[in-house]
């Protein structure tokens, strides 16, 4: 058990590259938040009206779904470190399920807004709303593709332990996607 704990500690930092990626990506999202705040200060009424048309239930449900998915992802990484393939497979599948659920809710939300006549060029609020949440959705789709690839590791139990680093990196990426959504949700849906 002690040896396992040491191994887990040694592997805990993943690799530098993924941290560089996360840092760079978060800088870009920081720019989005700055632009959103700037546009909001220039067009306060337009943003208040736009925010009132958003469905907090959809946004809130997606927040909960992504938080749960992050929990599953953490469990999957833990299982991968212990080379517990069955548990790993179980939790990766649950994470993918949550990601797909997020996309379904997002698609319903977008189609609602489009049906109401709002689109990416309607005004500054909808430009930021569609562009920023859209890019976040792209991150979720990329994450799901990577998770789908990572799910294939279960097939070769002998070589499973060689994929631990990749799984840890995937986990870090997924947590970043989750964190960014929480901030996006707060900024776009909640902050008056």
């Amino acid at each position: 058990m002690n040896q396992q704990a040491t191994t887990i500690q040694a592997q805990a930092s993943a690799e530098t590259g993924i941290w560089a990626f996360i840092l760079a990506d978060m800088c870009i999202f920081a720019l989005y938040f700055f632009i959103f705040a700037w546009d909001k200060s220039v067009h306060p009424e337009q943003f208040a009206q736009g925010q009132a048309t958003l469905n907090i239930t959809f946004g809130g449900a997606n927040t909960i779904i992504l938080l749960i998915s992050s929990c599953f992802m953490a469990k999957a990484v833990q299982a991968a470190r212990l080379s517990d393939v069955a548990r790993y497979t179980h939790y990766i599948r649950l994470t993918i399920l949550c990601g797909c659920l997020f996309l379904v809710i997002k698609a319903v939300e977008y189609s609602d807004k489009l049906a109401e006549g709002y689109h990416v060029a309607s005004n500054e609020f909808y430009r930021d709303y569609f562009a920023f949440t859209g890019l976040h959705m792209l991150h979720v789709i990329i994450g799901l593709l990577v998770l789908g690839y990572a799910l294939q590791f279960r097939k070769d139990k002998q070589a499973f332990s060689t994929h631990t680093l990749f799984i840890e990196n995937t986990g870090l990426y997924w947590h970043m996607v989750d964190l960014l959504w929480v901030v996006l949700f707060t900024f776009i849906y909640l902050v008056p």
Partner: protein, 236 residues
């Protein structure tokens, strides 16, 4: 393994020529970069082409030649990718094909703007039409270059050799730059300046300069690798 030194020299020459001709032509001589705001009126655009007729044609022609130098650079990149791949070099081939698309879509707008400047007595609305067509074509289809970066990133992460050509963190950075280009398809939605218009923060400044920054970084690392390998050979 391919002898890397001549390839690196050709790649370095290509990069220098692309930079001098394209950046010099577009930024300095033609005055096309940074891009003119999309909200410029037809009369203002016609005046821009009329007043800068000679410098526009000179700068755009220089830039057009500069785009041709991008190809050797990209194809040499494919050679290095192929070295790192096992079996059929799928990502090397895909990167090479996407490079052709990138070069074509970088060159085509120059032809269109050259056509706008060719007969300056055209009605302003026709000049404006050609100008818009050129900018939409220039700013929107960045997916070719994004796929090139994805190929490089994926190959770099799959490269299990003790001394991979690209450090892993550069591969992650390549993927990040590729994702950063995701906004360019929004360009046709905006006829006024903003972060997603063709002269905007995300569609131009980040989508144009982050790949350049990445290419410069990769070039320095590649040259450093060559120098290090040569020193090791001499020492041996």
């Amino acid at each position: 393994m391919t002898n890397r030194k001549p390839l690196i020299i050709v790649a370095a020459v290509s990069m220098v020529m692309t930079t001098l001709l394209y950046v010099g032509g577009m930024f300095v001589i033609a005055g096309f970069l940074p891009p003119p705001p999309p909200e410029l009126g037809q009369a203002e655009l016609a005046a821009f082409y009329y007043n800068n007729h000679t410098s526009i044609i000179t700068g755009l022609t220089m830039a057009l030649v500069g785009t041709g130098f991008m190809l050797p650079l990209c194809i040499i990149g494919s050679v290095f990718l192929a070295e790192s791949e096992e079996g059929f070099p799928f990502f090397a081939v895909m990167q090479g094909l996407c490079a052709v698309v990138t070069v074509l879509f970088t060159a085509f707008p120059n032809f269109i703007w050259l056509a706008a400047a060719f007969r300056i007595d055209r009605p302003p609305e026709m000049i404006a039409l050609l100008h818009d067509l050129g900018w939409i074509m220039w700013a929107t289809p960045s997916w070719g270059f994004a796929f090139q970066l994805i190929c490089v990133g994926v190959c770099g992460l799959r490269d299990k050799r003790p001394q991979p050509f690209i450090p892993r963190w550069m591969s992650y950075l390549a993927l990040w730059v590729a994702i950063g280009m995701a906004y360019t398809p929004l360009v046709p939605f905006y006829t006024v300046s903003g972060p997603f218009a063709w002269n905007g923060l995300f569609s131009f400044w980040i989508a144009f300069f982050s790949p350049i920054f990445w290419i410069i970084l990769v070039s320095f690392l590649a040259i450093g690798n060559i120098v290090k390998n040569n020193h090791q050979k001499v020492a041996a």
